[in-house]
Amino acid sequence: MTGASFLQVQGASRHFGGLRAVDAVSFDVAPGEIVSIIGPNGAGKTTLFNLLTGQLPPSSGKILFRGQDIGPLRPNERARLGFGRTFQISQTLTSLSVLENGMVGAFLHHRSLPAAAARAAEALELVGLAKRAGHRAGDLTLGERRRLEVARALAMEPQIVLLDEVMAGLNQTEVQDIIEMVHTLNAGGVAFLVIEHNLKVVRAFSRRVIVMNRGKLLREGSAEDVLSDPEVIEAYVGKRRA
């Protein structure tokens, strides 16, 4: 696979007591690829994200980025390597302005205030929040907060962005905006790893889909194949209705 030298997850596991939240998961991501991760609630998707960005240390297994084992690195060190992320429950910096939220990301590569502000303004433009730059992030709507988190990640000029259910609670137009934005950025070479429940979005996003269930990687393949697999439909749809 071409992604061998970009992001490689090799048998990553995370246990909480007896619970195997992530159980020996392996997959690769190629540079500039968009990969979606789907699976029922509690499948371990967010835990997997936390392992990738360093919020949680893995119980066992390896995570390689450009051939380097990043397992021991803390979140901020991984950010420096090029990891950007959003959180499932949005984590905006509520007392700062929208622009300043972007600046906090932009400071990763820009020391001076004006440079960081310019970079942040660009990122806000991309997610359509430029008009709200002066508002307090705490005053934003849910949809705007999610976009702001994306903007903060983009301002870091990342090589791979992890989006954790970034569409949840957004309306149709907002969803469409984000899909377009992801495609624009992806055309510029940024890879995406996306946790998503909305299968329409998954289809629009990615050529490749990973299905997780009970901490394990259930299926991996093209969107067409995976989404028509009866086992996947049962695990996914069956569990979701339950």
């Binding site: 622009l99 303004a121 730059a133 307090r136 988190e149």
Partner: protein, 343 residues
Amino acid sequence: MSNREQRLAWRKTGGVKTLRHELPVTFGALAALGALVAAMSGDSFTLNILASTFLFAGLATAWNVIGGLGGQFSLGHSVFFAIGAFTVSNLYLGLQVSPWLALLPAALLSAVLGVLISWPVFRLRGPFFAIATMAMTEVLLSLSLYFDRFTGGSRGVSIPFRAGLQNMIFRDRLSYALLMLGFLAVCLVVMAAVTRSRLGYSLQAVRDNEDAAAAAGIDVLRTKLAGMAISAALTGMGGVLYIMYVRVADPPTLFSLFDIGVKMALIALIGGIGTIYGPMLGALLIIPLESWLRAELGGSIPGANLIVLGFILMLTALFLRRGIVGGLKRLWSRPGAAKGAGR
């Protein structure tokens, strides 16, 4: 994106205040206070109050670097205050080093100690951090009473009156008021510089959300330690000036939880946590009010000033969480924006 487009995007944001934009405001505020001192230059009672107002304004500003910007509510800053005071008393009395020169080692020692004791304690969040800093005060107070060679034990230290600029001891109150104004100036400029810098934004990001800050590439622990070092260094300098001003102090006074540690935090809260000028405004309100209360009621009702302060503290926590500065800002802005301002 082209240069022109970048500039366009940049203009749409309304710009960000840099230190160069901030300093004129800072010096304007200091000039106003200087004018106040000049106007009162004949009145040594008022000058005394101004001197301690400026001292506490500076201390609260120093606390604000880590407490306000960084959101680490230390109640143990009296430790650094005392370290500064004992550094100068030992250097000046023992080695005849001028207190002016002692400012530097006092600041350094406080910063180093700040980093060393905060390193483990910064793993704690919120009230637990506050409790640990309180416990730290107890530990260092009892150690300082035990190692009385450096601190004079329970008798404390006293510095003989030898007036002279090089000794930082003056006959007139005007010099002390100006000295403390100078301290406030240093603290304000440092606070302004930190606020308008990457470190300032990192501290605020850490305060708002540690996970998000780390995900954005901020080294959370290092950011907190940097903020604590700066805050402790300034507080240590305040301790130097304090002991040269009062010339007699014992460990319980210098390590006092209420009169130093909590008071610094309280003044910053009332003025406006995390703002550059809030702590200064808080001190301008609280210190004169307190000395007035003590003069008016202290004789007839012991502790009346602290009752009033306690009520102010509770009311501020309930109704004015962003302090005087936050309240003023809310009045300024549209009523619609006021909803979120309380948070």
